[in-house]
């Protein structure tokens, strides 16, 4: 039920839509506000709030490594398990004890970052349209993470484990699908048998491995998916966990004794937060809540207000199969395939409509999307139907036509960043793109070296948190000459400014623009390079930017 691009969904009342969007913008501003605080201490590159997914992976690996160590010493018999952990904690505290604490605390930290990650992706609206897949595959991870944690506490076989074993099996029994009551395995010490415990040990090893597979599937549609946090953040996080492990080692509670009912239990609220409900509501109700909630999460990408941008389309006459769009698409939506026409190139770009988010980053990567081209029609190899590169050139030229002064600036911004309207002025023109990385570097060249403006100002999402994942990064690399197509050396860099302001830093954005204009005024007038023939066709275009 996706809406056509930029239109209002007809099937929900406008008021409702405004309300949903209103709550989301408040939540988005809250996240950005927190980002701003963290950016100061961590810098945008290390901001943990922008690395929740990678931190999840990092904590996962800590859990795996510490888990392997524990398993070497763990005795899987129900009567020996407790003793073997006591040995690790008390005798081998410096290694086994630390590993045990790391195992526990990294698991808890995983819950925190996973929940924040879920909330953030939801609030930042990165789960709908073609982006449904990553969200959808995240939902089973919730169940798997909880299954890992709960089975883990079971293996300690202390009173907490006893409580968990009884509450969990009673909850499973409430489903009514098991022929025999599983909870009867834990009736009292006489009836206790080790067989269910052995099953738990197996589950606690098998589920994390299966989880790795699902985590891998989860990021399959992300090009250049980041799975490792930046080194600084990794070191800091590991250091924190180590310090916590030494300061407050993970301990067992009293050994399980089925003849005595656990009454006051030290509780891991990260994993067990729903368990107390089982003492007040029927198990089946909790199944309905958990199942219904998961189903709702699964369906969320398709619930209104839906939105879907028009997808990119390839024009074969202008595509030389260079593959830059494939390299730059953050969603693996373009691929190179054997040529279907009789052009002299071996490959052509093909867009998968299912995967394309309509961000336009591929257009910014295509060497044929250059405003210098003098063909009557400017049709690049790949283009967005709702904002073609030709239209962008025309809009830009008409927007700057009436600018005056010696600090004339064109601002290219994105529709997910700060409010652009208030930047407009007598010497400032504003153009809004789906993503700034839609802008081919040649556009900047064109605007400055042809003297259309005195400077170009780029703005968009908050640094480190591009709505389309890689837009800011690619833009930076293109300007720095590290990524094809790069901005030519002849373009004076002092006439370009970037400000990744997000939606919360409007004032700062305006301030930076003013500062930039002051800088432009102080510069000696720019000497236009003599007009050379730069009209290119597809094949030559790559060379033009090399």
């Amino acid at each position: 039920m996706a809406c056509p691009a930029s239109s209002v969904c007809p099937w929900i009342r406008p008021g409702v839509r405004v309300q949903v969007i209103g709550i989301r913008s408040v939540a988005k501003a809250a996240f950005e506000g927190a980002d701003n605080v963290f950016n100061r201490a961590f810098t945008p590159a290390w901001n943990p709030l922008c690395h929740l997914g990678t931190l999840g992976w990092f904590f996962y690996w800590i859990v795996i490594v510490s888990g392997i160590y524990l398993y070497i010493f763990f005795d899987t018999g129900i009567n020996q398990a407790y003793e073997s952990l006591e040995y690790l904690t008390n005798v081998q505290w410096y290694a086994g004890g630390v590993m045990r604490s790391l195992h526990r605390y990294a698991s808890d930290a995983l819950i925190i970052v996973m929940m924040l990650h879920l909330l953030r992706e939801f609030v930042m609206d990165r789960y709908r349209g073609s982006r449904w897949f990553t969200w959808f595959t995240g939902v089973p991870l919730l169940w798997l993470v909880f299954a890992c944690g709960i089975s883990g506490y079971w293996m300690v076989w202390d009173v907490l484990a006893q409580y968990i074993a009884i509450a969990s099996t009673e909850w499973l029994d409430s489903l009514g699908i098991f022929g025999q009551s599983i909870a009867r395995n834990f009736l009292n010490n006489d009836t206790l048998s080790g067989r269910f415990f052995t099953l738990m040990v197996f589950i606690h090893i098998a589920v994390p491995l299966f989880m790795l597979l699902v985590m891998w599937i989860h990021i399959q549609r992300q090009r250049n998916a980041r799975v490792n946090p930046p080194v600084g953040l990794a070191v800091g996080t590991l250091g924190m966990l180590l310090a916590l492990s030494l300061a407050r080692p993970a301990l067992s509670q009293a050994p399980a004794n089925l003849d005595k009912v656990p009454s006051v239990i030290d509780f891991d609220w990260f994993y067990l937060v729903a368990y107390p409900l089982l003492d007040t509501i029927p198990g089946q109700t909790l199944w309905a809540i958990a199942g219904g909630g998961s189903l709702l999460l699964l369906l969320l990408p398709w619930l209104p207000p839906g939105q879907r941008r028009a997808t990119a389309s390839v024009d074969l006459d202008n595509c030389n199969g260079c593959g830059r769009c494939v390299e730059d698409c953050p969603f693996s939506a373009v691929s190179l395939q054997p040529r279907t026409d009789d052009a002299a190139f071996s490959h052509e770009a093909v867009v998968s409509d299912n995967l394309c988010t309509g961000c336009g980053i591929c257009v910014g990567a295509c060497p044929t999307a250059t405003p210098f081209r003098r063909t009557s029609e400017l049709i690049p190899g790949i283009d967005l139907p709702d904002l073609g590169i030709q239209e962008l050139r025309e809009k830009t030229l008409s927007a700057i036509a009436n600018l005056s002064g010696n600090a004339r600036v064109v601002v290219f911004g994105c529709s997910h960043g700060a409010g652009l309207e208030q930047l407009q002025g007598a010497d400032v023109a504003v153009l809004k793109l789906p993503c700034v990385a839609m802008l081919p570097p040649s556009f900047i060249d064109f605007m400055i070296t042809r003297g259309h403006v005195n400077g170009v100002f780029l703005t968009g999402c908050a640094d480190g948190d591009c709505h389309y994942r890689l837009g800011i990064e690619w833009t930076g690399q293109r300007l720095a000459g590290e990524r094809d197509p790069y901005l030519r050396k002849r373009v004076p860099r002092e006439r370009i400014a970037e400000s990744w302001a997000g939606i919360t830093r409007n004032k700062r954005l305006q301030q930076e623009l003013r500062t930039f204009q002051d800088r432009l005024r102080a510069l000696p007038p720019f000497k236009r390079t003599p007009h050379r023939s730069t009209g290119v066709r597809a094949g030559e275009a790559a060379e033009h930017h090399a």
Binding site: A41, F42, S181, A183, L187, N188, L241, V261, F267
Partner: protein
């Protein structure tokens, strides 16, 4: 921001995170059951009598059946629901009908119930009807039990061992 101040900020952030993790990993404690109480846990699985008595088929009736289906007894599969009653210190603690399991109602009835009660001495009676009789019970077990705080007192039912077991 000066580098030193940045590191200090990071330190604060890590410390707060560690504090949250370290605290909620074990605290606050959860009171699952009042420590002054004991728990009576009743759990068993038992098949009631068939709803109708089996009937021996006559030779004529057997002849009408295909040879591989000729069983001498004709039994209706459905079983009666069990009637269970627990009495504590003269008052009815629990009384329920436990329907047979299975689509055809031919499986065992199961019970799994927990009753937190004050610790101390109690007069406990358990009764069960598993037959087609209209009133009264087929099994009854009474005892004066002294329950320690947090004791897990199990009521099981094993007809082969004589009926109710107080464990």
């Amino acid at each position: 921001m000066p580098k030193a101040l940045q590191y200090f900020g990071q330190f604060i952030a890590y410390a707060l995170f560690a504090l949250v993790v370290g605290y909620f990993a074990t605290q606050p404690a959860y009171t699952h059951m009042d420590p002054d109480k004991a728990l009576i846990k009743m759990s068993f699985s038992h098949a009631g009598e068939h709803l109708q008595e089996c009937r021996r088929l006559t030779q004529e009736e057997l002849n009408l059946l295909p040879p591989n289906m000729r069983r001498p007894m004709d039994c209706l599969r459905k079983r009666v629901a069990l009637l269970i009653e627990l009495e504590l210190d003269g008052a009815i603690l629990y009384r329920d009908e436990l329907p047979p399991s299975g689509l055809a109602g031919d499986g065992a009835s199961t019970a799994y119930r927990k009753f937190p009660v004050p610790a101390g001495s109690h007069h406990l009676v358990a009764r069960l009807r598993d037959s087609r009789r209209e009133d009264g019970f087929d099994y009854e077990q009474a005892a004066v039990v002294t329950l320690a705080p947090q004791q897990n007192f199990v009521i099981d039912f094993r007809p082969e061992l004589g009926g109710f077991l107080f464990l």
